[in-house]
Subunit: 273 residues, 3 copies
Amino acid sequence: MSYTYADLAQRVREVAPLTHCLTNSVVPEITANVLLAVGASPAMVNHPEESRIFAGIADALLINVGNITDPDVAAMRAAIEGAQKAGTPWVLDPVAVGGLPVRTEFARSLVSGAYPPAAIRGNASEILGLAGHSGRGRGVDSGDSADDALEAARELASRTGAIVAISGPTDIIVSEHTTTHVRGGHELMPQVIGTGCSLGAVVASYLGVHSDDLALRHAAVVAAHAHCAGAGTRAGADPQVKGPGTFAPVWLDCLVHGPESVEACTIAEGAHD
Amino acid sequence: MSYTYADLAQRVREVAPLTHCLTNSVVPEITANVLLAVGASPAMVNHPEESRIFAGIADALLINVGNITDPDVAAMRAAIEGAQKAGTPWVLDPVAVGGLPVRTEFARSLVSGAYPPAAIRGNASEILGLAGHSGRGRGVDSGDSADDALEAARELASRTGAIVAISGPTDIIVSEHTTTHVRGGHELMPQVIGTGCSLGAVVASYLGVHSDDLALRHAAVVAAHAHCAGAGTRAGADPQVKGPGTFAPVWLDCLVHGPESVEACTIAEGAHD
Amino acid sequence: MSYTYADLAQRVREVAPLTHCLTNSVVPEITANVLLAVGASPAMVNHPEESRIFAGIADALLINVGNITDPDVAAMRAAIEGAQKAGTPWVLDPVAVGGLPVRTEFARSLVSGAYPPAAIRGNASEILGLAGHSGRGRGVDSGDSADDALEAARELASRTGAIVAISGPTDIIVSEHTTTHVRGGHELMPQVIGTGCSLGAVVASYLGVHSDDLALRHAAVVAAHAHCAGAGTRAGADPQVKGPGTFAPVWLDCLVHGPESVEACTIAEGAHD
């Protein structure tokens, strides 16, 4: 390709994509701080009337179904309608889908809807659950390995045109003809709430800047994962970090350095076998 | 007893109890981070339909009435019904009860309901307010001393079978025949929002693992308090800590070390006089 | 004047004003931590029935319309009615007003209502939007400079009696006959979500203590701005700070030292030209 992943990270900071986040009640603050750190501009707009308008103004939209309530569903549906009208790309984070009925039905309806997501990001159990397989997740933790979910991810990618990212110790990013592995991160990352949810928002920001064709979108999703994971790798090596509490602020500091973070990961690319 | 408090802390990390938190809008992020730090698995599920199901899957449930709204009340009632059906133990945190009418009526109805909490954790004014006495609280701060609330706590414990914990510079844990004092913590802890609310969630996690009999449940509530307070004692002694902002991440780091935290407290036990 | 700005900061800590915050879903935790750090007592009470009562008990009220939903509007209207009855001063933070219709109509209705705010704090685009001019804001960022909004601020101040603060690299505080410039802060402050929103809460706390006459209220709003900005200046000079993640906790630590923070700013006063 004619650009490096580090170039994509650099471009996000230059453009500062306005990223509309409809996310769960636990993580809005860290999500906003992560977006600011990567150079994006976060906004959360939950009133259905405003959400519809704002999704048309924004460069990208995140729909995270963790802890949804009925008013959230209304705000999300309105936002997706606004996004469709304006062509705004959006990302689905299917938190705990497969395990709980309201969000499972809702997330599946979005995926088969008139304007499916440009990308889907979840752990293995969530990707299995979204695809209609029964995963082993319990709560928000995955009971399945990323490899278990690979076929489901390929099926989702093929059916919807979305890029599907399976988060885990190694992240796997799948689109119709390509599978990429991103190795990086740090064992403290899952001990900080919102590192996964804010990754979904970062994916949206990257797609808000890089959306020309499927190959570029795939690369953008890979770069977003490498950006967050590589910042984790670098933060984990900082001598100030003694545990999850001191890890979180150093990780945010590292996110500011997108190209360096991307380059801290091992990225293995390849077409499908 | 045949186990130490440090053993109980260790066991929480081994089991990683899935802890369903219905808490107020200010503290979900720190609550989740505290639960992760002590080795539990947090989840917040607020849709009434999902909340009912999830309380049956989870190992423990927290109901924190700080800043409740009508939809929260519905989610909480549904969760308690689900918990009752499955026998899931739950903890009530009666934030500002006694001072504000909606939460006071709601919290009192839960305590006299069909499935009362396994534990109640609040400051002195809140325990007095929950028991029907008029405390001197204003907002979320206690205007009363822990000793003032001791009789009210004993009455609540006797009436409901719950273990009642009064938070303060010295925490007092009361069950029908036992009163235990936990001395520890640090003066910066009340300067960090959510240290008290997340203690309620930690109590729930401990009860999700240790629930065989009243003596074990009492010990679990004591250990949860010692875990959080002792981590505060240890964090406050760290030379990196210069104020409440730098205290919070170091406290989270210290929470990872449960047995060491528990042992940093002075625990004075005894049957009622 | 017979008091210094540092005196006003000191007095806030002595009184610990109970500050009722109805704020957006992204920033309640940092808002509460900031209020605790400056010596105030935060509380968030969103149930309309309780909100009305609590606004009468509290020393000050913050209304932040970022991310409002219909239930928030109900809670805010009830709180302002309670504040009016008790004479509690309140602050309006018109987040993204001018750009989104529901909050714009709501915020304008409050400003022309029966009990207008004692102070208004926003960025230049928001002040322009609130005054009915079309600003260049997109999302929550200002597309206008503070000087652009000066006339709109004077018009609002004159029409409502409120003190109007325009946030920016230099903050401008305007009341009917006085304009004050506060220079301080740090370039990392806008990279931490909630530094602006929590400033609105600090302004409310200061007004909860200092409300005798317009000159004192003006000085209180100036001191609140200098307190937050000066803590930013001091935090930014700390060698531990390497980016927005490590800035945030050090900033909270610095906020504990109100008089020193105030004195780290340059404050230029003057009557209107």
